[in-house]
């Protein structure tokens, strides 16, 4: 039994060690500003099209589905409220994190995994560079900056998707929709809507780096690391989402 537990416990310990080193490196020299910019471009700008598309359609679908339920109570006018709350609190952060996990955790794991199996990581260490400082910290910083921004964009585009449905399918006016959106959102929603992507950014970046850096077994190993990274990052996003939501519900039960 102890032997069975040993490996997962060691894995978690290694993950925390990597996370600790990556975070500590944020304030340590040398800083690789160029790498951070490059990663922000790849993760942020690169993910923008899929985040916009997904945000738009999830907002539109949410409006369509909710309007049917609300129609039973004659409250179709509240569609904007439901769309705004569900997008800002849950769908925006979680969907964006899942998309970025699928796109970038896998990308990071395969890139670092390929470097690992071709001994480029060893070469980096041999030539005077700390791979965590050079590869992991820039990806972490870049993701922590762009994921909240992508989430804000996804939220707005989602609300716009809801607006299109509200105006063209539900015969609401634009003012009616946007004023209900504006009135329902409170600081608490924005706080959890922005805290979540910030926390998810650590998962998306570090899980990708972690599985990439421990790749063994050639190209097959790279494929395995990529899959593991996406699966682990996606599951962790949901688990952490639960705990953060629980925290906010506990803090503000009303």
């Amino acid at each position: 039994m102890l032997d069975l537990l040993k490996r997962p416990i060691l894995t978690v310990q290694e993950f925390y060690l990597l996370a600790g080193q990556a975070v500590r490196n944020v304030i340590r020299q040398p800083h690789y500003g160029d790498d951070i910019s490059l990663q922000m471009d790849q993760i942020g700008v690169g993910s923008l099209p899929i985040v916009v598309l997904t945000g738009f359609f999830s907002g539109a679908v949410m409006a369509l589905q909710m309007s049917r339920a609300l129609a039973q109570y004659g409250q179709v006018g509240k569609t904007g409220e439901i769309v705004a709350i569900s997008l800002v609190r849950e769908l925006g952060p979680v969907l964006t994190a899942l998309l970025v996990a699928g796109r970038n955790s896998s990308g990071i794991a395969s890139e670092l995994g390929s470097m690992k199996v071709t001994e480029q990581i060893d070469a980096m260490r041999a030539l005077g560079t700390d791979p965590i400082q050079k590869l992991v910290t820039p990806r972490l910083v870049a993701t922590a900056v762009v994921l909240p921004l992508l989430t804000i964009i996804a939220d707005f585009i989602g609300m716009f998707g809801g607006y299109m449905i509200a105006v063209f399918r539900l015969n609401l006016t634009g003012t009616q929709y946007w004023s209900s959106v504006w009135q329902v959102l409170v600081w608490d929603d924005l706080a959890q809507g922005l805290l979540k992507p910030f926390v998810f950014a650590f998962v998306v970046a570090l899980v990708g780096c972690f599985f990439g850096l421990r790749t063994t077994g050639g190209t097959q190993g790279v494929g395995r690391a990529t899959t593991q990274a996406v699966v682990a990052a996606s599951v962790l996003v949901f688990v952490l989402d639960f705990f953060i939501t629980q925290l906010f519900v506990g803090l503000n039960p009303k």
Partner: protein, 272 residues
């Protein structure tokens, strides 16, 4: 006891990965300026020995001295200073895919803290290193645009660009045709003889060991000349045989050739 001033010294080094022993009580010393040829079957611990010498692998027990400094328990950040004295050629070259050849060769100059190198000086040294391997024209290319042999030569340029006194070559001729393999070995002998560097080389080819032990670089002709067994090189070159993580032989070429050990003679005969 203060260790004798050897360029590299292993004392009872044990290394295990996930419970599996890959180096078992390995001890040897390489005095400065000498050459050691590491041979043995795949998985016998040769590459791990090189990586341990570079501090990329930490021994579970035993000590590793590089130029008299015990590196076995040094933290990663302090190892960077030690590594700046060592050049390493990795098995598959390990050039950075995303960097040009010029950036690859300049990498140690720009990243090793102990090296202070302005942009002009860096460029000059990079060109000099690439001229040494006769690839000066590839500055702007990416590694994927070069052949396997050329990549290996660029990796040699990257290993020697800082002028390290100790050089480690991991299977420098693996997967190359005989002509390219000889070019690579000529470069290694040239580097060793022109800069008087201490050299460790992992190889499966007996011919490579033979060239390193019995030939020297002739700067006038740019070719290798046989020393007829009487040269300083022959005495300063020893063969280290690895089997299942153990060092089973530390011998001169004559002793190697005379060995009756079936494992050792198989290596000599198969490659002879």
């Amino acid at each position: 006891m203060t260790p004798e001033p050897a360029a590299l010294r292993f004392e009872n080094v044990f290394v295990a990965f996930e419970g599996e022993e890959v180096l078992h009580s390995v001890s040897f010393a390489v005095p400065a300026g000498e050459t050691r040829i590491l041979f043995g079957a795949a998985g016998s611990g040769k590459t791990v020995a090189l990586k341990t010498a570079l501090g990329l692998v930490t021994p579970d027990s035993g000590r590793v001295y590089v130029f008299g400094q015990d590196i076995s328990r040094l933290p990663e950040r302090e190892l960077f200073d030690v590594r700046s004295k060592i050049g390493m050629l990795f098995q598959e070259s390990a050039l950075f895919d995303s960097l040009t050849i010029e950036e690859n060769v300049a990498y140690p100059l720009l990243n090793q803290k102990s090296i202070r190198c302005g942009p002009e000086e860096c460029r000059r040294r990079v060109r000099e290193a690439l001229r040494f391997v006769e690839l000066e024209h590839t500055l702007e290319k990416f590694p994927s645009e070069l052949s396997g042999g050329m990549r290996r030569r660029v990796a040699i340029a990257r290993a020697v660009v800082t002028g390290p006194p100790l050089l480690l070559y991991d299977s420098p001729t693996a997967g190359l045709d005989p002509i390219t393999a000889n070019t690579i070995i000529t470069l290694i002998v040239k580097q060793r003889d022109l800069s008087n560097t201490t050299t460790l080389i992992v190889t499966h080819r007996y011919q490579n060991g033979n060239l390193l032990a019995n030939y020297r670089y002739e700067p006038q002709t740019g070719r290798l000349l046989r020393t007829n067994g009487a040269g300083r090189r022959t005495a300063a070159t020893r063969f280290l045989g690895f089997k299942d993580g153990r060092l089973i032989l530390d011998a001169t070429q004559d002793e190697l050739d005379a060995s009756t050990d079936p494992y050792v003679s198989k290596f000599v005969k198969h490659n002879g």
